[in-house]
């Protein structure tokens, strides 16, 4: 089976192109799929956010109805966290991690595709709620009893419960895949303590996904059984308990916020170090801090429930544990500052986003410590102070970090450099708009403005700050729009990004062509130290030392099965709501696909050694 070079048929025209993308198992293409899908959902969530801000622009505004407002806040939160932030994180992980560790692909290319398609169809199912006219409206946390059939009798919350379950399967598969990839596929010499920080962050994030998402799955299953099959988990009349949902949701939900922020930490570490032309300050403490944050992240969930009434002992315990997280996070912040200290800093768009991240995230962290104080939390709880806090961490932290990463790795993903001027313009609109939007919300909260309320009365001191906040949101939208314009303009230009377009690249991905050829490395490289590529450059080498002779490269075959399994889950999701026969049919489709995958061995195909030389030019 070794001889035939191209087992993959490539069909011409649009359908061939579409078939290629639907069946791809190449991590770089799946990364692009994640980026496109995440970007699409980000636009949905952004429009929802803008509508919320426009409604709150003036007191007693009646731009939208209260019911629609509830739907907007629910879908905004759910979409942004699960369907926009998570996939863009996976986009960067897919695009970068295998390259950074010197691997040809992820450990399970098929599962990688499956993870994408289940995520995508889960998200699609959730957002189809808009078209079906029955939209989730119990908040992104879906607290019972509001989310039970007693108070939410239409199918809205069913879309939430089923869509997130299906998307959650995809996320879990991704987490397992990246853990296995990083453990088993590192190039010779790439020890754990030589791994780039982004890879470390991806590794720990994947571990958090593996241990946190099953809890959410069970919570969602319990709620689904309650809503669809009449179970009593959260039905107080039949002995259920709504506090259990809060516990399970936040036992997942708090690790989830670290799942979101750790990759951003990883991106910032890479970008700042590259554009300061220095190795990352305190690499080993960065690794240690990342692990510690992940570990502590599982022991602080109840700080979301201080006002639930767990009692002073529990509140004190979780209060202290929460504050402890500030220590490893502080270590990271100082390490970034010391990395910049004495470096020759280049203010590229990517680095602007990275530098903008640091003070912004610190502000989110400081309000986090304020919120961690249980007695004070009774004052902040359910007010705009909380809204300000978590937008500082998730938007000011994660989204800023992701934008830094996208600008930084864009040439490696697409072979084209984003326009620097437009990038800087988008940064300034974005960062000024961001602070205008959310800084004042802290004060709105302290003045007593509650979250999740569709309007407010005039002359309570809320009017000006809400107007400022909405103007900020519009500026942010402009910033994001400039970014999209930048993407469109860039995509019209020829692909001529250099291997190492920033010229100061430190890690392995910058040693290979942009975009990387489908086999990534012609020969698996030998890694001789931390920041392997920088080390080779400093010793005057133009290429990485190879760890294997030139030979045929084994590649996995593309497959349509992941897409079909996604469709199967999608059908079963609809079936659980409207007709159980279709639920069974959908799951049977999934099982049959699994069996087919097991029965028909994928022998893959080989790219012959002389091909890479040609391929480099063609790619």
């Amino acid at each position: 089976m070794a001889a035939h070079a191209h087992a993959v048929k490539r069909y011409p025209g649009f359908w061939g192109w579409l078939w290629d993308w639907l069946t791809t198992v190449d991590h770089k293409k799946i990364g692009i799929l994640y980026l496109v899908a995440g970007g699409l959902f980000f636009v949905f969530g952004g429009i929802e956010a803008l509508l919320i801000r426009l409604q709150l622009m003036f007191p007693m505004n009646d731009l939208i109805s209260e019911d629609f407002y509830n739907e907007l806040i629910t879908m905004h939160g759910t979409t942004m966290i699960f369907l926009a932030a998570m996939p863009v994180i996976f986009a960067l992980m897919n695009a970068v991690v295998p390259l950074q560790i010197g691997a040809r692909d992820v450990a399970f290319p098929f599962v990688n595709a499956l993870g994408f398609w289940t995520f995508f169809f889960g998200g699609l199912l959730l957002n189809l709620a808009w078209l079906m006219g029955e939209v989730p409206d119990a908040g992104w946390t879906a607290y019972p009893p509001l989310a039970t059939t007693a108070y939410s009798s239409h199918h809205g919350m069913d879309y939430y419960v089923l869509g997130l379950q299906i998307a959650g399967i995809g996320t879990l598969l991704g987490g397992i895949n990246f853990m296995a990839t990083i453990i088993n596929l590192r190039a010779p010499g790439m020890t754990f303590m030589r791994m780039p920080m982004f890879t470390w962050a991806s590794f720990i994030t994947s571990a958090l996904i593996v241990f946190a998402f099953p809890a959410l799955t069970v919570g969602l299953v319990a709620m689904m059984f309650d809503r669809i099959f009449g179970a009593n988990f959260f039905n107080v009349d039949a002995g259920g308990n709504i506090v259990l949902w809060e516990h399970i949701f936040w036992l997942f939900g708090h690790p989830e916020v670290y799942i979101l922020i750790l990759p951003a930490f990883g991106v910032i570490s890479e970008v700042i170090s590259t554009f300061s032309r220095k190795r990352l300050f305190g690499y080993s403490t960065m690794v240690f801090a990342t692990i510690l944050i992940a570990f502590l992240g599982f022991m602080v969930w109840a700080h979301h429930m201080f006002t639930t009434g767990l009692g002073p002992v529990a509140n004190a315990l979780f209060s202290i544990a929460t504050m402890a997280i500030a220590v490893p996070t502080g270590i990271k912040v100082f390490n970034w500052l010391f990395t910049m200290w004495g470096g020759s800093i280049r203010f590229t768009a990517a680095n602007l986003y990275a530098i903008g991240f640091i003070p912004t995230f610190v502000m989110g962290g400081v309000t986090g410590v304020m919120l961690a104080s249980a007695p004070a939390d009774f004052q902040y709880h359910d007010s705009y102070f909380v809204v300000g806090h978590f937008h500082y961490t998730i938007v000011g932290g994660l989204v800023t970090g992701l934008l830094a990463g996208i600008h930084y790795w864009w040439p490696k993903m697409f072979g084209r450099m984003l326009h620097e001027g437009l990038g800087k313009l988008s940064f300034w609109f974005y960062i000024i708009g961001f602070h205008l939007t959310f800084f004042v919300q802290h004060f709105l909260g302290l003045l007593g403005m509650p979250r999740r309320v569709a309007t407010y009365l005039p002359n309570q001191g809320f009017d000006t700050m809400n107007l400022v906040s909405t103007i900020g949101a519009i500026l942010m939208t402009v910033g994001i729009a400039v970014f999209f314009v930048n993407v469109v303009i860039t995509s019209l230009k020829p692909r001529h990004a250099a291997n190492d377009p920033w010229e100061d690249g430190r890690t392995l991905e910058w040693a290979i062509p942009s975009p990387a050829p489908e086999y990534n490395f012609k020969q698996i490289p030998l890694v001789r130290g931390l920041d392997a590529w920088w080390k080779e450059k400093m010793e005057g080498n133009k290429e990485l030392p190879p760890a294997e002779p030139l030979g045929p490269i084994h590649m996995p075959s593309p497959s349509i099965l992941p897409f079909i399994m996604g469709v199967g889950f999608f059908i079963s999701g609809f079936g659980f709501m409207y007709n159980l026969v279709f639920a069974v049919i959908g799951l049977v489709i999934v099982l049959v696909c699994m069996a087919l995958r097991s029965i028909f061995d994928d022998h893959g195909y080989h790219i012959e050694p002389e091909e890479p030389k040609k391929g480099e030019v063609a790619a």
Binding site: A180, N184, A222, A231, F233, G239, D601
Partner: protein, 204 residues
Amino acid sequence: MSAHEHHAGALPPEPEKATLEGRNKILGFWLFLGAETVLFGTLFSAYLAFRNSVLDGPKPEELFQLPMTFIMTVVLLVSSLTSVFAVQAMHRHKTGQMLGWMAVTIALGAVFLGLEIYEFNEYAHEGHRFTTSAFSSAFYTLVGFHGGHVAFGILWIGLVILQILKKGLTVVTAPKVYVSAIYWHFIDVVWVFIFTVVYLMGKV
């Protein structure tokens, strides 16, 4: 990358770990079991929270029959042992013996599943239904999830047996045998905690 290094020669002593694909599969499956641990842990958590929310339904001490649970436990324990024997036979390259032990494993799994269905049916007749109380919902969800895992394991190991019959024991099929055996042991370990926490502690 090393998928074909062993095709020419004889099968290595641990054929499941002979290829990178095989090692990836085993590692990935272990990580999946880590996730499964949390999945069952959450179900246990719900069951423990609702162990007293019986309402008008039958109490656990009235409901559970120790002899029945004991038989189910022994059946699953023996099936776990036969599954070890299957893997040992694989390491000795005795394909026939291995298939035999795998067949015994799924037969015992089927017996376990049959007993569980019979048991659930009995409970339903005694007024312990899925919608009776929070206790009953949590009970059926926890034990039902475990039963679902057993059913999936039977289908899976059955499929692996068919594949071995067709393709023989190779470095491609060996990891499937190994991983499905690990899965089966994991189900048995979960059952150890189910019979302890649900059935025995329910009777204490």
